[in-house]
Amino acid sequence: MKELINEKGLRIDGRRVDELRPLKIEVGVLKNADGSSYIEMGKNKIVVAVYGPKEVHPKHQALPDRSVLRCRYHMAPFSVDVRKPPQPSRREIEISKVIREALEPALILEEYPRTAIDVYLEVLQADGGSRCAGITASAVALADAGISMRDMVVACAAGKVSGQVVIDLNDVEDKEGEADMPIAIMPNLNQVTLLQLDGILTSEEFERAFEMAVNACRTIYEVQRKALMDKYFGKAGEE
């Protein structure tokens, strides 16, 4: 079995167990979209576009009292090691659903009845944790579009690799580790909007992983906030 954590406690990319990969978020990267963002989290590169609120087609899909949130997570064929055909896979469809369900609690959809809000995520390069990075970027794009939100949504995965609980798994750790647990939270309301688990964790490990993931989310939230402040307030926003 590949050694994923060495005797010095360093992972294959040199990180410690509680260290996040380098993170960068840009706001307003696409001209036509109502809101957009771009995120790099380790080697993940994801661009998100938000269109809406807008009229729903076909009309019968519209809801009388709120907006309909639609989400599409898609991986570019060149985003992974072995080229992936462009047609959506079952994995992409499941991830689209959990991302939608992770974002929905934060949006005040009742303000926009009979409309749709479309969130399109395109993964240009994937390296483990792309759904979490996608959720983080999507919340930023939704805020950029000026859609009313109760809170931001921010996501990070925790897991277990070589017997130790770690944060922010990359692709190799995700594939060869013992457990991967993506979570998403609304950081001011302290609510969980995404939780998935793939692998085996004891109850103690689960609690540790959960706590580490929540803390990581808070760190990432600061990057989201700063990205929005920089774009909208520029120098005036510097405290």
Binding site: E55, D65, A106, G146, M149, R150, D151, M152, Y232, A236
Partner: protein, 231 residues
């Protein structure tokens, strides 16, 4: 001397705590017990009157009595479909234009307003159950025959108008142009070509600096600099 109410201002993002206390929530604010959170990216204002957030982006939400600039994009036997830069298309009924005796006649509709025509119209009806309805019966309303169109974020329209129209008047007099600002973020500029160019630049400047203090002065400086250099 009259004492001005103190307004505290801060930049906020969605979910951020703005203030605690007994305030009245005015706009773009969620209240949980005595804590107030922003629902938008924008400038929060806390005063004796209450707490509100002025958003820096977001769609145009139609309001009855708003004056908007719309583009005819389609038509049916009874009405034109109008793009008003909002979440919904608006409708202008043939009856509003031709009178109550109107009978469906495809030719008349096209003769009056063609696809791509711009109209200055008033929103006469809008609620949560249906698309906005427009009317062009009123002074100054109807088809826009000439001018250049600039689109800005609807959230910035109040800044472009200014207190009692001061900002728009400043731009108009410096550029020798007439400006019509739709509440939906569409601006029409009519005037000489170099005036139109200057006005467009001034509008873009207002849009990008809407949240900054001293905007009025900056715009005045920008416009007067050009007047010195200019034709």
């Amino acid at each position: 001397m009259r004492k001005m109410p103190a307004i505290e201002r801060k930049y906020v993002t969605p979910g951020e705590l703005i203030a605690e206390g007994s305030y009245k929530p005015i706009g773009n604010v969620i209240r949980i017990k005595d804590k107030f959170y922003s629902t938008k990216v924008g400038l929060a204002e806390i005063s004796r009157e209450g707490i509100r957030v002025i958003p820096l982006s977001g769609p145009y939400i139609p309001r009855v009595d708003d004056l908007v600039i719309g583009k005819i994009v389609d038509f049916s036997a009874f009405s034109w479909e109008v793009d008003i830069n909002s979440c919904f298309f608006a409708y202008l009924s043939a009856q509003n234009v031709f009178g109550k005796d109107f009978s469906p006649d495809r030719e008349s509709l096209l003769r009056k307003f063609a696809i791509g025509d711009l109209i200055y119209a008033k929103i006469i009806a809008y609620d949560r159950t249906r698309n906005p309805l427009l009317s062009v019966s009123g002074p100054g309303l109807g088809r826009i025959p000439k001018g250049e169109v600039v689109k800005i974020s609807p959230a910035k329209v109040p800044r472009l108008i200014g207190k009692k129209g001061s900002m728009i008047k400043t731009i108009e007099s410096a550029t020798n142009c007439k400006l019509i600002i739709g509440q939906n973020g569409i601006v029409l500029i009519m005037g000489p070509p170099d005036g139109v160019l200057l006005a467009t630049q001034a509008i873009r400047m207002v849009e990008s600096e809407a949240h900054l203090a001293g905007l009025t002065k900056n715009i005045q400086n920008f416009l007067s600099k050009y007047k010195e250099v200019g034709s």
